[in-house]
């Protein structure tokens, strides 16, 4: 190069470097060589809490909505306290006597509502299991 200003002195680095930078650089590089140890696998670490929270949320919401819709329209109004007390004291009660205490409609209604409740609980169980499965699939994919 002919221009005298582009000479060897211009090869000096024009830029400033913080003191001790290159020693720190080496340390930083070494500390980042093993990312697996430092990886924060969010889902894996918190999967149990997240699963429990989601199940609780689903159940809570379900109960809240179901409460408003009332799936337990069981009416015991027609059965008096004396009759219940008598029933408890007299375990060995004949069918005829039992039918006198509780009407067929009430029994039928009670039976149907119980079946509904059982089905509902089974559905919620399946939903919870699906949610847990979903999270266990997720945790392998997501790493932060």
């Amino acid at each position: 190069m002919e221009n005298n200003e582009i000479n060897n002195s211009a090869k000096n680095n024009a830029f400033e470097v913080p003191d001790g930078y290159f020693e720190k650089l080496n340390l930083n590089v070494i500390s980042n060589l093993y990312p697996a140890k430092n990886k924060f696998i969010f889902w894996k670490k918190n999967s149990k809490w997240l699963a429990a929270a989601s199940v609780a949320l689903i159940l809570g919401l379900s109960f809240w909505t179901k409460k408003n819709n009332s799936i337990l329209p069981i009416n015991y109004a027609s059965i008096t306290e004396e009759e219940f007390a008598a029933f408890e004291e007299n375990i060995e009660i004949s069918d005829e006597e039992l039918t006198e205490l509780v009407s067929i409609d009430d029994v039928d209604s009670l039976y149907k509502n119980t079946i509904k409740q059982i089905n509902y609980i089974e559905e919620e169980k399946i939903n919870a299991i699906d949610t847990l499965d979903e999270y266990s699939l997720f945790e392998d994919e997501i790493e932060i």
Partner: protein, 186 residues
């Protein structure tokens, strides 16, 4: 007294790979190349923080991709190639968020930095040269950096950048002419 000849870079790297990426050998490689890589990257990216980030990435990638080096060329070319690619990647990512067009300082951002003396060590001639370099298009600036500052041969630069030697020579010649003109006018 016989002086022990230091082990060559390629032999050192070979041992590093054979010993399953021995950390002590990697530290030796770091000591040999940290400044070279940093300054190469710094001249492209200008800002220290950016250069620091990319330099670290370069060495981490060297560690992770050690087995990809086939020992049919100089280790320095392999490392500088990583540095070149990572610098360009960094700039392309930055382009999405700034007005930086390739490496051309079209918005004057880096020129303003240099004018303000930001992160400069007070060497006026060197600072003027940096300002001149910022007026050059990407390829010319990169070639100039490798040829002038790193004093690499054209075949090494060709290996790093993937550009033909003829194109590199042409770019360098044009870069020199432009810098001379800039320094004459400024």
């Amino acid at each position: 007294m016989l002086q022990k000849t230091p082990i060559s870079d390629n032999d050192l790297f070979k041992q590093f790979v054979e010993q399953n990426r021995a950390e002590n050998l990697f530290k030796e490689l770091l000591n040999r190349y940290n400044k070279k890589v940093y300054w190469q990257v710094r001249r492209i990216l200008i800002a220290h923080d950016d250069a620091d980030e990319v330099t670290q990435i370069v060495f981490i990638k060297l560690w992770q991709n050690a087995s990809q080096f086939k020992f049919n060329s100089a280790l320095s070319s392999f490392i500088y190639r990583i540095a070149y690619n990572e610098s360009i990647t960094f700039l392309n990512q930055k382009k999405r968020f700034t007005s930086l067009d390739n490496l051309l300082d079209t918005d004057g951002h880096y020129t303003k930095m240099i004018n303000s003396g930001f992160e400069l060590n007070g060497d006026e001639i060197a600072a003027r040269l940096q300002k001149a370099l910022l007026t050059l298009p990407e390829k010319q600036r990169l070639v100039f950096n490798y040829k002038y500052f790193e004093e690499l041969q054209y075949d090494e630069i060709a290996e790093i950048t993937g550009t033909s030697i003829g194109a590199l020579k042409s770019s360098y010649h044009i870069a020199v002419e432009k810098i001379k003109k800039y320094l004459d006018l400024n």
